[in-house]
């Protein structure tokens, strides 16, 4: 029966009617999509071409004298560690705030808190940097001293820096900076949990927390992962705050002493007076950062897609 339908339709194959509005709108959205791809490719091409001299240069000519790789890996380490600590510190707090705002607090209080959290996102990073260096870092020194005295056997807590301007300080400030992003994305997805699923859990005899665990968190997980990755992306690329707070030095495992550096801060501090091969080095470092953020985003996408079958979208 299907066959006969198919044969009947074949001769009547003409161009489908298309409205002008559809063509215009389709073209416009296609154009935007292509534009963003072209921009991305353009950035990648620029980075690769400008970075080439550093990648192909004689190892002795690179800063440090041992080639580009040994120049860049401490920076990569500093960037990734700083951002990861920030993410680990910020995510639980952000999810907690988002749950409070969406499911625990009275509606009006929730809206107020949400507004304040969003305001936090509006604070310029340079302000965070100044605050972190001048106010926050000295306050952290007693804590670092305690860590050194009591947990000094862990290599991460070596000799404490008296200024407090360490990679851990930078991480904590970064955590505050990415908190609003993770919070607002999480809050939005938690608010979208279908009422039906919440009621299903409650009708089974779930307490408020059990309802959140069975219905809200699983539903919101892709959103939380997405928000966390946005936050991580911001932390990876954050320049100003880190450049101001951290007193950079060579690589060290000691997170509460001075030392370490991140790629964005390194570029920002040296780019203005760099030229020739040094410029190429910094651009190559930027290329590495670009690759890291790309990898982070792909990883996040993979996490979200892994359970797509169970997302409820079907």
């Amino acid at each position: 029966m299907n066959d006969s339908v198919a044969t009947e339709q074949r001769p009547a194959r003409t161009k489908p009617v298309r409205r002008v509005g559809d063509i215009v709108f389709g073209g416009a959205s296609l154009g935007s999509a292509v534009l963003i791809l072209l921009t991305l490719v353009g950035v990648a091409v620029f980075l690769v071409i400008k970075a080439m001299p550093a990648l192909t240069a004689d190892p002795a000519e690179i800063s440090g004298g041992k080639g580009f790789f040994s120049y860049v890996w401490p920076l990569v380490f500093g960037t990734v560690v700083c951002s990861l600590i920030a993410m680990v510190l910020a995510t639980p707090v952000a999810v907690g705030i988002a749950l409070f705002v969406s499911h625990y607090s009275p509606r009006r209080l929730g809206a107020g808190i949400g507004f304040v959290i969003d305001l936090l996102a509006a604070v310029p990073s340079v302000v965070f940097g100044m605050w972190g260096m001048a106010v926050f870092a000295p306050k952290l020194f007693p804590l670092y001293g305690w860590l050194e005295d009591n947990l000094g056997f862990i290599p991460l807590f070596g000799e404490a820096s008296a200024s407090g301007r360490t990679i851990l300080t930078a991480s904590i400030v970064l955590a505050v900076m990415i908190l609003p992003i993770i919070t607002s994305v999480s809050r939005e997805v938690f608010l979208q949990t279908p009422r039906l699923h919440e009621e299903a859990a409650l009708a089974l005899g779930a307490t408020r927390w059990e309802m959140i665990r069975t219905a809200v968190l699983p539903f919101g997980m892709p959103g939380v992962v997405g928000g966390t990755m946005l936050g991580l992306g911001r932390a990876l690329g954050e320049t100003m705050a880190v450049a101001i707070i951290l007193s950079p030095n060579v690589f060290t495992w000691n997170f509460i002493g001075s030392g370490n550096q991140t790629i964005p801060a390194e570029i920002a501090l040296h780019f203005p007076e760099a030229s020739g091969l040094r410029l190429a080095e910094l651009i190559a470092a930027g290329l590495v950062l670009f690759v890291i953020t790309l990898a982070v985003n792909l990883f996040a996408r993979w996490i979200v897609d892994r359970r797509a079958e169970f997302s409820g979208a079907n």
Binding site: E199, A200, T214, F310, G312
Partner: protein
């Protein structure tokens, strides 16, 4: 396992608005009771007060008593969470948890009630509940697939399996077939007939034939005018309500003259 329900002079309010006025009725154990009536007459609201699910809506409160085997659901130190573990509920639209597999869905309530389950006991319980919901044969080969991949009727039976897995005393159903096709509806109706042997079933339905087919007793809810609270107009055996109702309003509604 099943228990009787006695409602005494129950008023239901949303803030200052009175939604339902002065309902009293007794529901026998191991029976099916159907509530019918026009939209907005408060029958779903009333159903929800039988397991305190109306409290999900801010500002909702009741006055009066609901007794389950003599125990007042609205007593001072009664936790709504415990009430809902005794009185299960099936909703208008099937709502399996989308992030869980079929088996996880069935066991969701049991896991909540913080009983530790060995995987063997879990398998057995899931099979028993799914058999109880007439769904076992259709899903036994795909217990680990998502529950949301089933058809609407299967999803609704999955929700019934989830409700009976925690072995409640009473099962409430809020228009369980209104989103289903006739064949799935028939499957659910057969299931309601089977559930009667173990549970007290209370069902809200817009479909009068359905009430006539499945229930032992029927309550007709109505409201005098828009904005007025809903009331229980007549409550009697289904036979009487459909063949020989005492009130004019019931007869008008049954015969399709309004509503």
């Amino acid at each position: 396992m099943s228990k009787r329900i006695d409602v005494k002079d129950l008023d239901i309010f949303y803030g200052n608005f009175q939604a339902v006025k002065g309902v009293s009725m007794s529901i026998e154990p191991r029976s099916v009771t159907a509530f019918i009536g026009p939209s907005g007459c408060g029958k779903s609201t009333f159903l929800r007060t039988l397991n305190r699910m109306h409290e999900v809506i801010p500002g909702a409160r009741v006055e009066g008593e609901v007794l389950i085997d003599g125990q007042n659901l609205y007593g001072k130190d009664v936790d709504p969470v415990d009430v809902r573990r005794q009185v299960g509920m099936v909703f208008q639209r099937p709502n399996p948890f989308p992030t869980m597999s079929i088996k996880e869905n069935v066991l969701a309530g049991v896991r909540l009630n913080s009983k530790r389950l060995s995987s063997k006991a879990g398998d057995e319980l899931a099979e028993k509940a799914l058999r109880g919901a007439n769904l076992w044969n259709e899903v036994k080969d795909r217990l680990d697939k998502p529950g949301s991949g089933l058809s609407g009727g299967q999803q609704q039976r999955l929700c019934i399996a989830r409700a009976i897995a925690i072995q409640p005393e009473v099962i409430l159903m809020d228009e369980p077939c209104s989103a289903l096709d006739p064949i799935s509806t028939l499957a659910i109706e057969d299931l309601i007939n089977d559930l009667k042997t173990d549970y007290t079933v209370v069902i809200v339905t817009h479909n009068m034939q359905q009430a006539a087919r499945v229930s032992d007793k029927t309550g007709f809810f109505n409201l005098e005018a828009t904005g007025k609270p809903g009331e229980l107009v007549e409550y009697d055996t289904t036979q009487t309500i459909f063949n020989n109702p005492a009130k004019k309003a019931t007869e008008d509604y049954i015969s399709g003259r309004f509503g």
